[in-house]
Every structure is written in structure tokens, then in C-alpha cells.
């Protein structure tokens, strides 16, 4: 394509946004509405996932050390445990610390004054990367010489895994449905905007314009409207999210839940919003004019 033709088509695409102001406004509004609904739901899903992850990360395995091992020998097991796959970290707890921790659960400390710490074992509190692999990690711990017993709360772990899987599946299905519905609505709005310009397209065809010549300004226009709608939706979503999360944190449930700060996800959100806007705008407009190009 010659550069003067290219420049003309880019210029026509931009100009058309303003000459068809109302339809541009309608398209941007629909893009914003769809993206905000879609984005809000995605953010809820991200927060639920984060909460489950936090709860999961507090889930731990306790590995008891053989009684015959001295404290130094017991401490020497730490690198072996940390080297196991799926072990995020581990913390050594001596018999004395274990007894103190146990005794602290009771009000009457005199009950323990004659108890020797040797009845307790040195132990490791082990945190995992993925609790769905807890049973495998438990087995690996048993394979370490010096580990006498492992307490793994497999049922609790399984419960978390089930909840996470259900939430992920439901979120994914709903997000996919919302994406499809949004793309359909946005593409149809663009189609409606294009319908009013079918006569213009027919004139272009009649003077010998090629399909790409006709399509290009529409695609530029669709891209710009989609991108603008995406950025606008991102800013609105940011505002809504900040207001809602502030209200939640100030309320009574604020102590029970943790929310993902928008700053943590803003770049991803901006990329997704702008990307969806661009793709829907470009594809929507090129699909919309396809029928009018068949003359």
C-alpha cells in the first residue's frame, strides 16, 4: 500500500470516530459496560483464589524426629527436608519449645512442673507449596532417616483442594460465558454502527475501492474505539474496586478477609482490558462490514 494511501486511510479511520459521534459513543459505552462486568467478576474470582491460597499456606505438616537423635543430629535433618520437592519452608522446634507450646494451652501451669521435656520429640513444622501433593510429601518425609512420624492433615488439605477446584471451575465457566456474551454484544453494536454506513460502502465499491481499502478505516476506527473503551473501563474498574475494597476492609468482615490490592493486578488488568478492546474492536468491525463487501 502506498504511504499516501495508508496515511489517508488512517486519517479517515480517526475522522470517522468523530463524524459518527453517536455510534462511537454507543460502541464505547457497550465496550465499557461489558468489560467492567467481566472484570468485576474476574476480580472477585482472583480475591477468592487469594483467600483460599492464604488459608492453604497456613496448612502444615509436622515431622517428628527419632527420640534417639541428639538436638544437633535432629537439626542436621533440616537441609534434607528443605531439599524435598513441594516443601516451601520448615521450622525446627525443640522438645523444650514443644512442651512450652503444649503447656501454654492450659491455665494451670503447675501440672507440668514435674514433666520432663524428654517426653516430647524434636519436630519440624513443614509448610508446603501445593497442599494437593501433601500425601506424596508425607511419604518423602518418611523416607528420610531420622524422621519417626509424620502428622499430615490430609482430609483438611483435600477439603481446601476441593473448594479451590470448585471455585476455579465455576469462575472459569462464568468468565468464559461473560466473555462470549460481551464479545457478541460488542460485535453487534459495531455491526449496528456499520449498518448505517452500508450506502457509503456501496459507493466505495462503485468507484473501484478494493475490499482492503474499504475495510482498513473501519478496522482503524474499531481498534481506536475498542482501545479507548478498554482504557476507560480499566479506570472505572479501578475506581469501583478501590471504593468497594475500602468499604469491605472498614466493615466487620475486614478482619476475616484479605483483599488483593489493585496495584498488584493493575498492569495485568490494563493489558487484558486494552487487549480485549483492541481485538473486539478490530474483529467486530471487520466481521461487521464483511457482508457489505460482497457486492
Amino acid at each position: 500500500m502506498k504511504s499516501n494511501k495508508f496515511g489517508y486511510l488512517i486519517h479517515e479511520g480517526f475522522k470517522s470516530i468523530f463524524t459518527h459521534g453517536f455510534m462511537s459513543f454507543a460502541t464505547i459505552t457497550i465496550v465499557v459496560a461489558c468489560l467492567v462486568i467481566m472484570g468485576s467478576f474476574s476480580l472477585i474470582a482472583v480475591n477468592i483464589d487469594k483467600m483460599i491460597s492464604t488459608l492453604e499456606s497456613n496448612n502444615q505438616i509436622i515431622g517428628y524426629v527419632e527420640e534417639t537423635l541428639s538436638e544437633n543430629e535432629a537439626k542436621a535433618l533440616q537441609p534434607k527436608i528443605e531439599a524435598l520437592a513441594n516443601v516451601r519452608s520448615c521450622q525446627f522446634v525443640t522438645r523444650e519449645e514443644a512442651m512450652k507450646e503444649f503447656a501454654s494451652q492450659y491455665d494451670d501451669q503447675s501440672l507440668f512442673k514435674d514433666v520432663d521435656a524428654s517426653v516430647f520429640r524434636d519436630r519440624y513444622i513443614i509448610y508446603l507449596d501445593d497442599i494437593s501433593l501433601m500425601s506424596q510429601t508425607e511419604q518423602s518425609l518418611y523416607n528420610i532417616t531420622g524422621i519417626a512420624k509424620v502428622n499430615a492433615f490430609l482430609q483438611v488439605a483435600q477439603g481446601f483442594v476441593t473448594v479451590r477446584n470448585v471455585v476455579s471451575a465455576v469462575s472459569m465457566v462464568l468468565i468464559v460465558i461473560l466473555v462470549i456474551v460481551s464479545v457478541f454484544i460488542m460485535a453487534n453494536t459495531i455491526k449496528l454502527a456499520t449498518f448505517s454506513r452500508r450506502e457509503e460502502i456501496a459507493i466505495m465499491k462503485m468507484v473501484g475501492a478494493s475490499n482492503s481499502f474499504i475495510r482498513f478505516p473501519f478496522v482503524v476506527e474499531g481498534l481506536m474505539l475498542g482501545l479507548f473503551g478498554g482504557i476507560l473501563a480499566f479506570l472505572i474498574e479501578w475506581g469501583i474496586y478501590d471504593v468497594v475494597t475500602n468499604k469491605v476492609m472498614q466493615s466487620i468482615v475486614g478482619n476475616l478477609v484479605t483483599v488483593v490490592p489493585f496495584n498488584e493486578v493493575k498492569l495485568v488488568m490494563l493489558a487484558i482490558y486494552a487487549g480485549v478492546g483492541l481485538v473486539v474492536g478490530a474483529f467486530g468491525s471487520s466481521i461487521a462490514i464483511r457482508n457489505y463487501l460482497k457486492v
Binding site: 502506498k2 499516501n4 494511501k5 489517508y8 463524524t19 459518527h20 450506502e199 457509503e200 456501496a202 459507493i203 466505495m204 465499491k205 462503485m206 468507484v207 473501484g208 475501492a209 478494493s210 475490499n211 481499502f213 457486492v295
Partner: protein
């Protein structure tokens, strides 16, 4: 040159022939009136020439393009050899007079310099100097039709087709337009005018091709439009 040889055409989904075994030739530089009653096939002839519909059988050549076997991608190149004027002008409402004409030059990849030189010249030729910045709604019907003429000839097509160009104009403006078409023809462009206007046709001594029911029923040089319109 336009050459119809035993051309037949049925619209998709239709069963009757809109064009039935039609044969006629328009040589380069000719001025031809195509006349006939409503439903006779005049619009179908134009649609065939512009490649809007395809012929089913026969031989159809327009400016060196074989339209029976032309690839869809080559249609734009063929259409650039033709200028078309419609009864309803078909101007782009949100473009100025200048831009409506310049638009056809952008299609063929003309440079801004070429457009700046050529468009004022063509607007002057059709008598629209001073109207460049007006929008179609701001000028009269006759002027809108002259914008359509300017757009049709700006790329110097070898064939100019006018489909009922005077249908929305009063007699004085119609005559003016036909004189303009005659002037364009004198400059070397082949002109095909489709019309109902008996008196207008008869006031020019040109070739008249009359059609009915998709067939040529008379073809005469310095013809006279004697066919009675129902």
C-alpha cells in the same frame, strides 16, 4: 468498449431471465442512450457492466475485462475504468463536495498533489467552482448531480455510465446535465445514458438502444426514442 454477445442472466433465486440472449456493442468514444420501459432490464445491464451481478452465459467484455470469467479481486481494477452516475446521486453525506470527488482519487492511490490539482479542474468543468467546501445537503439537486458527475470522471474513466441521471432534476437542469455529458463525450469518454426521458433522448441525435424483456428490440444510429413507455 462494451461488448454483449448472447448474454443471458438470471438473478440468484429467480427463475426468469432478466437478460435474455442480449447482443450489442458500444465502441470507444460512442454516446449511447439505453432506453426501455420499467422492468425491461436496463438496470440489469448496468449491474452486469459494473460487475455487481455476473452473467450466466454468453460473452461480456468491458474495457478489456472478460466479466464472465473475471476474478473477484480484479473487479476493483475494472471498476476504476468506469465512472457511474446514479439517479439518487449517492454522495457521501459527511464529506464536502471536494472530498466526495477527491475520495475517488484516493481509491486509485493518487498523491495529495495530484488530488489538489485535478479536483478543482474537474469541479470547474462541471461548473461547481466555489462549492468545494459545501456538504451535499447544502447544495441543490442539480449541483449534487454535478458532484456525482465530477466524481465519476475525476479518474478519467474510459466509460461513463449514467443510470437515470435526470430522474430527480427539472427539465432545465436535465438539459444542462445532458449537455455536460455530451461535452465529456467530446473529450473522448464513452458515454452510456440509461433513461426514460423520451424528449431528452430525441433532442440529441445519438445512438439509441431500446430493450424490453431483457432483449434488444431496436438499435439505431441518430436514433429516435419511439418506444412507448407503459
Amino acid at each position: 468498449m462494451v461488448k454483449f454477445e448472447d448474454v443471458s442472466m438470471i438473478y440468484p433465486g429467480g427463475d426468469a431471465k432478466a437478460i435474455d440472449d442480449m447482443t450489442f456493442t458500444i465502441e470507444d468514444g460512442e454516446f449511447v442512450f439505453l432506453v426501455g420501459p420499467s422492468g425491461s432490464g436496463k438496470t440489469s445491464v448496468i449491474k452486469l457492466i459494473t460487475g455487481e451481478v455476473g452473467a450466466c452465459e454468453g460473452t461480456l467484455n468491458v474495457n478489456g475485462f472478460d466479466l464472465l470469467h473475471i476474478h473477484r479481486h480484479k473487479l476493483p481494477a475494472m471498476r476504476r475504468t468506469i465512472g457511474v452516475i446514479f439517479q439518487d446521486f449517492r454522495l457521501i453525506e459527511d464529506k464536502t463536495v471536494f472530498d466526495n470527488v477527491a475520495f475517488a482519487m484516493h481509491v486509485v492511490g493518487a498523491t495529495p498533489g495530484e488530488i489538489k490539482r485535478r479536483v478543482p479542474y474537474v469541479l470547474e468543468l462541471v461548473g461547481l467552482t466555489g462549492r468545494e467546501k459545501r456538504f451535499p445537503k447544502e447544495i441543490s439537486g442539480g449541483e449534487q448531480q454535478r458532484v456525482a458527475v465530477a466524481r465519476a470522471i475525476v479518474n478519467s474513466p474510459s466509460l461513463l455510465i449514467a443510470d437515470e441521471p435526470t430522474g430527480n432534476l427539472d427539465p432545465a437542469r436535465s438539459l444542462e446535465l445532458m449537455l455536460l455529458m455530451d461535452k465529456i463525450n467530446e473529450m473522448g469518454t464513452t458515454v452510456l445514458v440509461v433513461t426514460h426521458e423520451k424528449e431528452l433522448v430525441n433532442s440529441f441525435s445519438k445512438r439509441v438502444v431500446a430493450i424490453d424483456e431483457g432483449r434488444v428490440i431496436s438499435d439505431g444510429m441518430d436514433g429516435y426514442y419511439s418506444y412507448e413507455i407503459e
